[in-house]
């Protein structure tokens, strides 16, 4: 066939800039992994022992201590309240902030930055750590749990809902503005109808997550089934631990089925 020249044409998969970017990521990741492997302390004796310990663990869990069920049930109800109230409180707090964070709604960059900072702080600190702080304030109990769930969720709900607001089409909003509608009316009839599906989807998603999270808050005294779990763990009542783990598993499965059902109905 025709040869355009006698220089052999070479083909490389990426442009030099792409190659450099990717190589840096690969190399840095490799170094990070090697560095972590070298310093993380692993005690071999513990590791050899692990299968035996695990078998022992499960042997002690079975059969479950069914006499303990009334306690499990009452703390489970409390867990449900913590998750649900915490989610509701989080939404109430996050909604105004998400409007502050949305670029198409708030022009002032400082206000936006403040909202973003609250979101990042809320998301960065784990719910268990938030629970420590609220137990220090309100004392042990479900109230601290509700607040730690709420504060942890503000960032999640606010960020996602703020993004949904930013994706709202400007057309209807311009049309309402052109009719001379007040800002509150624009919010209610321009933004809300567009963002409502995202709102419910985010709320459901977070509620699902919060059911899981509220089950462990009791480990630091913030109410729910975790309190009973902590007591059973400290007393080495493994048959009670087993019952509670099985219960939590069942609740999580049911929650997931319920949320996916509701999601398919409303969205």
């Amino acid at each position: 066939m025709m040869e355009t020249g006698n220089d052999p044409r070479v083909w490389t998969r990426f442009t030099p800039a792409e190659r450099i970017g990717r190589s840096i990521v690969y190399i840095v990741s490799a170094i990070a992994i090697v560095w972590s492997l070298q310093t993380v302390e692993i005690i071999p004796e513990f590791l050899y022992d692990a299968p035996e310990q695990t078998a022992d663990l499960f042997a002690r869990m079975w059969p479950f201590d069914l006499k303990f069920w009334p306690v499990v049930w009452s703390t489970l109800v409390e867990t449900f309240h913590i998750a649900t109230l915490g989610t509701i409180l989080a939404i109430l707090l996050a909604l105004p902030l998400s409007f502050l964070a949305a670029r198409n709604f708030t022009a002032n960059p400082i206000l936006r930055w403040i909202a973003q900072f609250i979101f990042v702080s809320s998301r960065s600190v784990n719910s268990l750590i938030w629970a420590l702080l609220f137990v220090a304030i309100f004392g042990p109990g479900a109230l601290a749990g509700v607040f730690s769930i709420a504060v942890r969720s503000i960032g999640f709900v606010g960020k996602l809902f703020g993004e949904a607001l930013e994706e709202a089409h400007q057309g209807p909003i311009e049309a309402l503005t052109a009719t001379g509608a007040p800002r509150a009316a624009i919010l209610l009839k321009g933004y809300w109808p567009q963002a409502e599906p995202a709102f419910w989807s985010v709320a459901l998603l977070r509620w699902d997550i919060n059911i899981r999270e509220s089950a462990v808050l009791g480990l630091v005294g913030a109410g729910g089934i975790g309190v009973a779990l902590d007591a059973a763990l400290n007393n080495l009542y493994w048959d009670q631990v087993g019952l509670m783990l099985a219960t939590i598993f069942a609740v999580v499965v049911v929650t997931e089925i319920v949320t996916s059902f509701v999601r398919s109905r409303i969205i």
Binding site: E18, G21, R22, V25, S29, A32, I33, W35, S36, L37, T39, V40, E41, I42, I43, F46, L47, D49, A50, Q53, T54, L57, E78, H81, T84, L85, I88, V120, S121, R123, S124, V125, N126, L128, I129, L132, L133, A136, I137, F138, G139, G141, A142, L143, V146, R212, E213, A215, V216, L219, V220, L229, L233, L245, I248, F249, V252, V253
Partner: protein
């Protein structure tokens, strides 16, 4: 209003929606009533909060404390790195096995069942079990976070794989490519960017969780944090919290950059 009942209803009332809202309101009032909130408790809480903040500020920056915090933070970061690496490596085959468009039904349902079990427990509970199995320390934390990484990444990766274009895969299959060559040329190019996105997202998430597993003995900054809290050294607690927030912010910035490189 009688006028509106006479006129044609422009907006038919949405009774399901109203029912949901009313039900939610009643539930909220009831659930709040179970929390035993009263004036005295709120007042006590406010006083406690004031004392808490008073003790928190200024954050404690003494060198010996910082040294301790540094060691804990580094261990947390290492836990996150190793858990992400191993977890993501295992999620790749797991996610492919769970994708219904690639794997035969019995494989994908088995994989889905495993993923569901992995996902259902909070990392802290998993960490408690691993502390019992392999002893106190970073290893228990790493194993716990590997479990949560696999639960999250395999599930979403399977969803990504199920969304790929079958036509592009068919075209590669039509060239006579073997199963693995079809994966490499037909499937991976379509999903790799999303997979990298999931990986860096999970790294952020693991970093957050690695600060927590220490509370139950899984290594990292959690242990010094919990100790400081129990000793009422709230100024040290604040220092640790600020460092965690700063670290997460940096990590989120870096992840956004990495995602762009692999778009």
């Amino acid at each position: 209003m009688s006028a509106s009942t006479l006129a044609r209803a422009a907006f038919p009332p949405d009774w399901t929606k109203r029912f949901v809202w009313i039900g939610l309101a009643i539930y909220t009032v009831y659930a709040i009533s179970t929390l035993d909130i009263d004036g005295a408790r709120i007042a006590r809480g406010m006083a406690n909060a004031a004392r808490l903040f008073d003790r928190m500020f200024p954050p404690n920056l003494q060198p010996d404390k910082l040294e301790l915090i540094k060691d804990g933070m580094i261990e947390s970061i290492q836990i996150a790195i190793l858990a992400t690496f191993v977890g993501v490596l295992l999620s790749l085959p797991m996610g492919l096995a769970a994708a219904r468009n690639l794997a035969p039904p019995w494989v994908s349902w088995t994989a889905r069942a495993i993923i569901a079990v992995l996902r259902s427990f909070h990392p802290v509970i998993v960490a408690i079990l691993f502390v019992k199995a392999v002893g106190f320390g970073a290893l228990a934390g790493i194993l716990a976070l590997i479990v949560s990484t696999m639960g999250f990444v395999s599930k979403l990766f399977a969803e990504v794989v199920e969304e790929i274009s079958a036509k592009q895969v068919e075209a590669v299959r039509a060239t006579g490519a073997s199963f693995f060559a079809v994966l490499i040329f037909g499937v991976f190019p379509q999903v790799m960017a999303r997979f990298v996105g999931l990986t860096v997202y999970q790294f952020d998430s693991n970093l957050r969780n690695s600060t927590m597993v220490g509370i139950v003995g899984g290594g990292g900054i959690g242990a010094p944090l919990f100790t400081a809290y129990q000793r009422f050294d709230y100024d040290v607690v604040l220092t640790i919290l600020l460092i965690i927030i700063g670290l997460i912010m940096i990590a989120e910035f870096v992840s956004a950059r990495i995602r762009r490189i692999f778009q």
